[in-house]
């Protein structure tokens, strides 16, 4: 579903991501962990076609992000770490805009919007302007907008920040359900306990380089993910 091959992205002289390769298959949830500034967000933005990169290739459902970015974007959904949305629109108008862009039929969009809005308890606020939303409500709206086109690949940057415990629980459930239906999920997080419980695979990045990638068992063995993470960090000094 997602294949990253030798991705390198620099900001001036500094390599933010350096020769990173990984693969995520349909039905898998992959956690992406690393310190602040390790290169997680840059990698994610490259995958989504938001940032251009110098070297390497990224494939989404077999489509190259460089050569056919629109085909890739049709397959994926992205939620950034800070959901800055169109504050001049109401929640429902924003979701309708996203549905228009993905060409979702009127019946389908209404059904999906209300299903997910009910799930995340946002229905009663849909007519409000987004400028009146709290951080958590914006995060929920961004989640709904990401789910309404049934993406095959969902990319989330720190998705649990700002969510209340109920929404957080429901998001985890939804993530698992979508993977059971064949989607793949790639998400960054600093909450290692969540990654440990939720993920099938883990990728650990440090100073732009992937220092570990594999199934959860391969990475952590008998230890906790937290202990394994610190060990990996130390080994790669």
């Amino acid at each position: 579903m997602l294949r990253i091959e030798h991705l390198t992205k620099s900001y001036g002289a500094k390599k933010a991501v350096d020769d990173l390769s990984l693969q995520i298959n349909p039905g898998e949830i992959c956690g992406f962990i690393g310190h602040n500034g390790a290169g997680k967000t840059t990698t994610i933005k490259c995958v989504c076609g938001i940032l251009q990169f110098e070297e390497g290739e990224i494939y989404v459902s077999g489509h190259s992000v460089k050569k056919d970015p629109i085909a890739c974007k049709r397959e994926l959904a992205y939620i950034p770490d800070n959901p800055d949305l169109y504050e001049f629109l109401s929640g429902i108008k924003y979701l309708n805009f996203i549905a228009d862009v993905f060409g979702i039929g009127e019946k389908e969009r209404a059904e999906r919007i209300h299903r997910y809005a009910d799930l995340f308890e946002l229905t009663s606020d849909l007519a409000q302007p987004i400028s009146a939303y709290s951080h958590g409500m914006k995060q929920k709206l961004a989640l709904i907008s990401a789910l309404i086109h049934n993406p095959k690949l969902i990319i989330l940057d720190e998705p649990f920040v700002g969510l209340d415990p109920t929404a957080s629980f429901k998001l985890k459930q939804t993530m698992r359900e979508m993977c059971n239906e064949g989607a793949a999920i790639f998400f960054s997080t600093h909450v290692l306990e969540v990654a440990e419980k939720l993920c099938d695979k883990v990728a650990v990045i440090k100073r732009g380089r992937l220092i570990a990638f594999g199934t959860m068992e391969e990475i952590k063995g008998d230890e906790s993910l937290e202990s394994a993470f610190f060990e990996l960090e130390e080994q790669n000094g």
Binding site: I50, L51, K73, L89, V101, I104, R109, T123, Q128, A132
Partner: protein, 537 residues
């Protein structure tokens, strides 16, 4: 005082950031931009102060010897107060009643009163700049034409220090009322726009009639002096204090100047914490499930751009003012042609061509003022990721900006052109000149604005008014618009008037605009799209 200084520094910096472009020392482009702005400001400053000096000199020469010296300084005082209120009313509203960083500042170990007074002090600094712009040339011109005693000079300096205070008191009162109204209304953007337009119209009206006022003042000095003495007695006493060195008069003026400021700041101080921390948002809108109308991706982007434009009053005013003028002036040209000519300080007899041609030229002039697209890339700010992560081609995203610009500015231009065409009638070439050329210029400005904004983006703004008002792209687009009018105009006046009729020249210019639009569209598809994709990374 210890905590006042850092809070004042922060509030003043944020106030300045909303008014002037940001400057990065390491960025050579930024340095060039600062030089450009400095030259522009110097030009505007010299023009304003020069105009004022001439005006004050003629007043000082006529009012001084006639024994109405006090009226001269009363008028200066009235001008200072009016300028401070008009210049700072909306800033006062934004800083005292709608500041986004109030909660952040109040979380610091600082008394709420310190935050309030730091904000008022920041506003007063700007008020003093306005005051000096008027008072300095006024004082110099008075001294050049007449004389002033030592006590009068001292009172003049003290009056200059005090004059912004009543203006601030009045600004606080009006801003407080506006804040109460805006925060409770759903369609407050329309109301804000109307208030902006009201102030703008009043300013334009006063400026266009200034010469008339001066003539009236000089011819009916005694009558006006009497009205001032009765209706604006604090200003009468200000005049007496400066011209006659009268201490009692100064005392009366000082009490009257301080009173509104002290009363309003005391009232505001007692309620500031509540104002700063209460969320008085509009009433919650209940959601009712309705049919969700589907449209294509391109249409969705155009609709999004239009909604963004109509959500920011300053954007409507700055970007769409030309379009508004197109209809207003078209109607005036038909109904009251004399007013339009008075505005441009000319007369119908002074022009060598007929009304349809004048209408075409005016519509072109207003089309050149369409600046909607010039801020359309910058205004995306932090939300740039949305469009970039969606399955739409970059060219379509950029075309949506041109399309929304063309709709916002083109429809009023077309209405204006139709009104004029029906009212004046014209030959086929004249009709083409009247309709095609202004519309073609709107589209050209749409493409040019996006191209320029892609080269001069400003995405890291705090307040959306910043890219709309201070973006380099807006300034450059204005200059480009002027060039698009001036170059063919000069070509015709100096070269082509011998070989072609003015209507044909205007029509031909429209064809050239269409050609420029095609070239800009090609540029946008290739290089423009690459620039957009490279933004923010």
């Amino acid at each position: 005082m210890g905590s006042f200084r850092p809070v004042f520094y922060v509030t003043f910096r944020s106030l300045i950031a909303t008014m002037f472009p940001r400057y990065r020392r390491s960025d050579p482009q930024s340095k060039r931009r600062v030089i450009l702005y400095a030259l522009l400001f110097a030009y505007v400053f010299i023009t304003i102060v020069g105009g004022e000096a001439a005006l004050f000199y003629s007043l000082a020469k006529s009012l001084g010897p006639a024994g109405y010296g006090w009226l001269y300084f009363a008028l200066v005082g009235a001008l200072v107060i009016a300028l401070c209120i008009v210049g700072e009313l909306f800033l006062t509203h934004a800083q005292l009643f709608a500041a986004k960083d109030n909660e952040q500042l109040l979380s610091l170990p600082v008394r709420p009163g310190v935050v309030l007074f730091a904000r008022i002090a920041s506003l007063l600094v700007l008020d003093y700049i306005f005051t000096l712009i008027v008072a300095a040339p006024a004082a110099v011109m008075w001294i050049a034409a007449n004389s002033i005693g030592a006590a009068g000079a001292v009172f003049l300096v003290l009056a200059v220090i005090m004059l912004p205070l009543p203006a601030m008191g009045v600004s606080i009162l009006i801003a407080w009322i506006l804040s109460a109204v805006f925060s409770r209304l759903r369609g407050s953007n329309i109301l804000k726009l109307l208030v902006y337009l009201l102030f703008f119209a009043a300013y334009f009206y006063v400026v266009s009639n200034l010469n008339e006022y001066i003539r009236t003042l000089i011819s009916r000095g005694a009558e006006i002096a009497e009205a001032f003495r009765r209706g604006a007695f604090p200003l009468y006493h200000l005049g007496l204090a400066v011209t006659e060195g009268d201490a009692v008069s100064f005392f009366i003026f000082a009490v009257c100047a301080l009173a509104p400021f002290v009363i309003m700041t005391a009232l505001l101080s007692s309620r500031f914490l509540k104002i700063a921390t209460t969320n008085r948002g509009a009433r919650k809108v209940a959601y009712r499930q309705k049919r969700l109308k589907a449209s294509g991706a391109r249409t969705a982007f155009v609709k999004k751009e239009l909604r963004l434009f109509f959500s920011i009053p300053a954007y409507i005013l700055n970007g769409g003012l030309g379009a508004l003028f197109s209809i207003v002036v078209a109607v005036l040209l038909v109904v009251r042609r004399d007013i339009v000519f008075q505005m441009f300080q000319t007369s119908p007899d002074a022009l060598p061509f007929g009304a349809p041609t004048v209408a075409a030229l005016m519509l072109c002039l207003f089309s050149a003022l369409s600046l909607v697209s010039a801020a359309s890339v910058s205004i995306e700010g932090n939300t740039l990721w949305i469009a970039r992560s969606l399955p739409v081609s970059t060219y379509d995203i950029l075309l949506a900006k041109v399309a929304s610009h063309s709709l916002v500015c083109g429809v009023p231009t077309l209405i204006g052109a139709i009104i004029c065409a029906v009212a004046f009638g014209s030959g086929i070439i004249g009709l083409l000149a009247l309709i095609i050329t202004p519309l073609a210029l709107v589209v050209t400005m749409g493409f040019a604005g996006v191209v320029i904004n892609l080269r001069h983006p400003r995405l890291d703004w705090v307040n959306p008014v910043q890219p709309v008002k201070q973006g380099a792209a807006v300034l450059i687009s204005m200059l480009a618009g002027a060039a698009l009018i001036l170059v063919p105009g000069m070509l015709y006046v100096f070269l082509l008037h011998r070989i072609m009729d003015v209507d044909f020249m205007i029509f031909l210019t429209g064809v050239v605009y269409i050609g420029i639009s095609i070239l800009l569209a090609m540029h946008l598809k290739d290089k423009g799209a690459r620039l957009y994709e490279g933004l923010g990374g």
